[in-house]
Subunit: 176 residues, 2 copies
DNA sequence: ATTCTCATGTAATTGGTTACATGATTGC
DNA sequence: GCAATCATGTAACCAATTACATGAGAAT
């Protein structure tokens, strides 16, 4: 999304498409991912619109184009920031499966809940790894949002674990 | 998404596209929305593929087509259920704005956090309204997932409120 | 009569992913 | 010499939203 690029360029200073990708992957990707297929075409559009401008900025001997945000770009970005975000929408395939799965299969439900818990725990682990290094004092609220992610994933993981534990394990089918 | 339709038809019995839409809006929409623009074309595709079949099922004097899931449809749906859901992805414009917004504007940040809290509280209220009526004993886990939604939204709302409250309110600019 | 809800759809657009393709440079 | 990383891009595709369009029956 265009504004994300503008936002990064504003907060982090000039950077290449590649840089944006890695920056996103190390911070925003936990609530807003981005792929090259979006980034590069979008950079061109933004440049054509005069909201950013690229200049050759080789790193060592490697050719590279860094884009810097222009005043109109800043204005555009701040207009977007000022307008309130739209209705909060959640889309979660795991919960969808849970919802649609048979209610007369307790072990299956338990397994699903545990799987969901593991998934959140995995995100949590990734975020914790981020916690140590990274998150410089550049623009934005990396700390606050990191905390948000930690709180969110640990809460949901615990909730799922708890619910899973309330489902009795299937009695071991013994034969003796 | 095709499987959602299959899932509803399996759990709720035969229903029209319109019915699916209302059913989704009263349950799944809180974590997986659907629009007519998806539903109707998808119903046709599913019928063409033999996974569902429609029959005239007028309600009173109103013409209407109800679709029932076929055995291959059930099989297809259950295959989908059995395969584990993909990586958990979050996409939240509110958090994105929080992340990208200036860190040297405490009142703004506070306002953003409060706005996010209000948004989650609004979802919470909608879910609570659902809690009373509805959620029949049909297929799936409406209760469990409803609980999930309640827990999720109230936790996040509280977290945001808490963080917002930690930011001192701007000193009232008096003139006397 | 008029409005609301039921009911069905389409067209245009947006937003995004995936897979592919290429090539230079740096570090081992 | 080779692998990893830096760097840039495109084409095909998919999922979904929005807005539009229509019309009949039910309720007031």
């Amino acid at each position: 999304m265009a504004v994300v690029l503008l936002g990064f360029l504003r907060g982090w200073g000039p950077m290449s498409g590649y840089d944006v990708k890695t920056a996103v992957d190390q911070s925003a990707k936990f609530f807003w991912a981005a792929s090259y297929g979006q980034i590069y075409p979008e950079l061109r559009r933004l440049e054509a619109a005069g909201l950013i401008e690229g200049e050759a900025a080789p790193r060592g001997d490697r050719s590279r184009t860094a884009y810097r945000i222009t005043p109109p770009g800043v204005e555009r970005f701040e207009r977007w920031l000022a307008e309130p975000a739209g209705r909060l929408e959640v889309r979660d395939e795991h919960v969808l499966k849970l919802f649609l799965s048979s209610s007369d299969d307790p072990p299956g439900t338990r397994e699903r809940l545990e799987h969901l818990a593991r998934e959140h725990e995995a995100r949590l682990a990734e975020l914790r790894r981020l916690d140590a290094r990274k998150s410089p004092d550049l623009g934005g609220h990396p700390r606050l949002v990191l905390d948000y992610g930690l709180a969110f994933h640990s809460f949901i993981a615990a909730w799922c674990r708890d619910r899973a534990d309330q489902i009795p394990v299937p009695p071991p089918t013994r034969r003796t």
